[in-house]
Symmetry: D2
Subunit: 356 residues, 4 copies
Amino acid sequence: MKQKWKVGILAATGTVGQRFVQLLENHPWFEVAELAASDRSAGKPYLQACQWKISGHVPEYVRNMKVKDCAPNLECDLVFSGLPSSMAGEVETTFAKAGYAVLSNSKNHRMDEDVPLLVPEINPEHLALLEIQQKNQNYQSGGYIITNPNCSTMALVLALAPLEAAFGIEKVNVVTMQALSGAGYPGVASLDIIDNVIPYIADEEEKIETEPRKILGKLKDGKVVFADFKISAQCHRVNVLDGHLEAVSIALKRRPSQEQFLDALKTYRSLPQQLELPSAPRFPVVHVEGADRPQPRFDREMENGMATVVGRVRPCSLFDFKLDLLGHNTIRGAAGAAILNAELLVTQQLLKTRSY
Amino acid sequence: MKQKWKVGILAATGTVGQRFVQLLENHPWFEVAELAASDRSAGKPYLQACQWKISGHVPEYVRNMKVKDCAPNLECDLVFSGLPSSMAGEVETTFAKAGYAVLSNSKNHRMDEDVPLLVPEINPEHLALLEIQQKNQNYQSGGYIITNPNCSTMALVLALAPLEAAFGIEKVNVVTMQALSGAGYPGVASLDIIDNVIPYIADEEEKIETEPRKILGKLKDGKVVFADFKISAQCHRVNVLDGHLEAVSIALKRRPSQEQFLDALKTYRSLPQQLELPSAPRFPVVHVEGADRPQPRFDREMENGMATVVGRVRPCSLFDFKLDLLGHNTIRGAAGAAILNAELLVTQQLLKTRSY
Amino acid sequence: MKQKWKVGILAATGTVGQRFVQLLENHPWFEVAELAASDRSAGKPYLQACQWKISGHVPEYVRNMKVKDCAPNLECDLVFSGLPSSMAGEVETTFAKAGYAVLSNSKNHRMDEDVPLLVPEINPEHLALLEIQQKNQNYQSGGYIITNPNCSTMALVLALAPLEAAFGIEKVNVVTMQALSGAGYPGVASLDIIDNVIPYIADEEEKIETEPRKILGKLKDGKVVFADFKISAQCHRVNVLDGHLEAVSIALKRRPSQEQFLDALKTYRSLPQQLELPSAPRFPVVHVEGADRPQPRFDREMENGMATVVGRVRPCSLFDFKLDLLGHNTIRGAAGAAILNAELLVTQQLLKTRSY
Amino acid sequence: MKQKWKVGILAATGTVGQRFVQLLENHPWFEVAELAASDRSAGKPYLQACQWKISGHVPEYVRNMKVKDCAPNLECDLVFSGLPSSMAGEVETTFAKAGYAVLSNSKNHRMDEDVPLLVPEINPEHLALLEIQQKNQNYQSGGYIITNPNCSTMALVLALAPLEAAFGIEKVNVVTMQALSGAGYPGVASLDIIDNVIPYIADEEEKIETEPRKILGKLKDGKVVFADFKISAQCHRVNVLDGHLEAVSIALKRRPSQEQFLDALKTYRSLPQQLELPSAPRFPVVHVEGADRPQPRFDREMENGMATVVGRVRPCSLFDFKLDLLGHNTIRGAAGAAILNAELLVTQQLLKTRSY
């Protein structure tokens, strides 16, 4: 790989966009060539257009880059999209039509029949949908859309995958305690969350109850046959900056011992680990000892925020096992997931250099 | 009722003790005659012995009362105990032996076969255990122990009671998000909870999984036959001052419509409401409208903190219904529960004036 | 006083408007007859138009009142204005022109030469400006504008007044730690303030450095001659819901002993106390003992939030004395101040019944 | 430097001790050879003895090191002490007597006449006190005590130093808003600080009013002549994890323009920068643009937490200039300061290899 792929970031000034900017600094395979955002920002240098809201400072390399419009004249080969769902549907399609590989963090196309809801550890074979998508949609050569899951789904599904493979999942109950950064900026008002919990996040439960079944589904005759287990979700916003915590109960088709259950989680490795993708966690699922772990503030940075951290695994009188799991919602739950997807594309030779 | 009953408060300087002091100010039936606490506090005026940590100020009436030892020479008819479990077992027994009615908030005697785990709305018939208890334990006339449930149990069981009565409960899954005041003072260190959730509270899950089955149990041949449903609990500490929020899923023996389910909760009234006990909530279960309610900071004061507040009732794909419920952990979940228990005792003529 | 005065609330759905609604429930002299807000709310019942964000629930009496436009056809005698400064200037003038007494919480008219910046304890004689104002502005009979100070100014000036009277103030240095409710709703984003302090509040320092000098000024020849001391302010937003804390250092013209200094604060009473105005604090300045007081959460409700709470008074090596003071920013610092102003108007027979 | 100096950490399991452990991982000049703590921890592996409470995980290198007693049989050349003041006085003396260089973070010896209160940027010449100290105290060769300032002092004095040098300081008023980590663990109870500010920190104001005058003092005839300016401090604890913010007002002997004032801060470099000490910040004082900076959460990591971050510099009507400054209280304000002191000792050839 002599030269880096040129990438653009759509909605580069938003909170997900800021993570893309941060995570792509010094990336071995990708070079941020274009930053795009709304009209309000277009034309300004990034430092001026952006209210930086994540830890650490604005990387040097973007400070003076000029922000452009989100229009398909960006000089790059692929785009990472952190667009809000109000815009993502249309804009991402426009980019795919124009021949860009679009790696989307938005919900709009996730459930489209010909769009992979990709998790490289779990369903790389879903990439076969791309050929179908390009035919269906009449996208220009090289143009397609790949999505990554919702942040809460992401943390959950990494833990479900090895269990599904080893024992078959029957039922999953999940109660989330989600971080504020998941709501973007300005997002949740301080007057709403201090000394409080909000037991509702719009559309979130529907996503968690559906997306894992597509992700863990099998490709048959060019279509994803959804996995057949049931999920019930209850979502809460808590006074935490980053890191979604989920209290999960799981019933399995073939009940393992607790040791076997834990072993399936701890020994889980998959394609991104074998390929040693630059952003891949060494362990997609990390098990933490300690009766009171995982905790968002202390465990969210594990594996650079790219793993699901699991703890408190114990038998359940209603399901088979219960546990708490934690994922970094703006890293593996958003920007990091899209970047890992793009890294997989590189190794599968599914990226194409555009001419510009 | 010409004269008020004289009451004492054990562990009066602790956080539960402070609630007793606050809630008993101007009580129509009870007069705080004695404050007792550890050796460290004994002999000092209350204002000096106590680090007041609940909202509002130290009531005038206790400021200059002298704190005594927790020994059974207090000049009162009944005692409210906010003793920590490390001391409650023995001290409460000592008081019962000496002929005091003991209303205990501690876990020590809750599961004793002859001790009522009393919730006046639910199991007033369990008071029949008192006679047995006095015989078994050889307590002096008038002496006995009555307990109220753990704070998380309390909020849950008020909502379960009308459902058990109407439809029969089969299974309950509960994930708690509990307030800091539940841990007492100093309790949880600020460095542990800011920007964080702690997925563990010692012994809490065991209590929630057991206590409701005793509370909802039936008295047969002088013994409580536990209710036969199963509960699975996962407990979390969140960055909230007061108010335990619980995400609950419930399977019923006879599945009602959502309207019937809600109706059972909303129309629930019981003995304390009929007797118009001074501390009784008008509605033991309050239903709040609004997609994002109940919320601890905004709803915990409903019915003066004596009710369980329920919201987000909706069908569940794994159980029958799921919902969020909220209870004020230091009012109905602790001091307020014990006071309501004592009020029931008055109306049942189970209190006896001691001579002193 | 046979009948209550009919009052309207401008911007009744905002955070200050909500406090007006709450504090005017069961007011002995005033009856809320009209609620007005922006076009977006107009026509809706209050409960639906308003996102209630203060503690306690929406009072019964307003739930079904229909919200109207902020136009001078409201059927009431006076209006309380919680309008944002972007609108207050013009709208308040329109109401005054139409013959309404306007009690404004906004900054727009505070420094107008003929508008009283009224604190009933301090400068009731400034009400003489009203006659001049009506002539200058050609307002319809009964129409005028009276303002109350900025929230931080309010807490400070109540403590300065008795010191100015007794010893003469020379210099004041004040560093504020201000609550989130001061920024309205949605106001400060949670992502900005958790685990953080923001050392800046737009225009706040200018207000604190100027307003006290007008409030403590003397009326001469129909004009307020500003008090001649200097104030320097540094303002910060902290992670607190209600209650502005201020670290203050004061140099005096005639240096008293610490006892004399404290005595001036503690014995301070003034006209509202003598008149026993319904909202007047018994003590405008309350002194709290305790090395670590006042604290916002524990002390902001003193005197129903209508007093300034002072503590930690001690000598200063640069000024004469230093101390911390606390005021409830949305009660005495906003709605409560305007209501107390209106109560003073009633007793001074400066209100006039409008015909409608 | 062929071999690393062997260092020990006293109170290695405390919060300051944890920072020493973290900051000394991979240090180019020092190797942690010994961990010492209280009896309770002695004999256990570090991972088991320590409740890790700072961000990031326990470094590999210490996990299995056995914790020893705080007694002078540690096999190392110098010790970093994070001992609490209740123990530091005596224990540190014992180590110095036994020939260890002691780098202390505790208050006990800071004001001793023959002990340097060292800030390498400011007063390296105070190291001449060591020879006097050794004579006075009869310490074994190589043994002495060097202290670093209190955390709030540290942040302040780095900004004062260039101003004193350029313009002469006359008066300093400082109001602090200090982080929770400054109180150690468990430290401040969550029930005390949520939705609150505590306007008091024991002994803190005295330290800030005194220590800078020793640090900026001149050595004359073997004694430090304190700088002659006055400081007045008011200290507050706020709901922030790390980072002390200070609102400072400064009067100077020779009043500069605002540009000159800022320039003095921004161009400040000193000995640690010239020597390129491994832990030295490139800039001891960093100036941040932005009307609302510095902010603890966003700016505390600047220069790896080793600099004072200054912002909002503006004229003051009472003093000459006012500003806000921020320092990382457990890095430059504690462990990092002691390590930088030790690095200076290396370059000044003031360390001696002990035989063990």
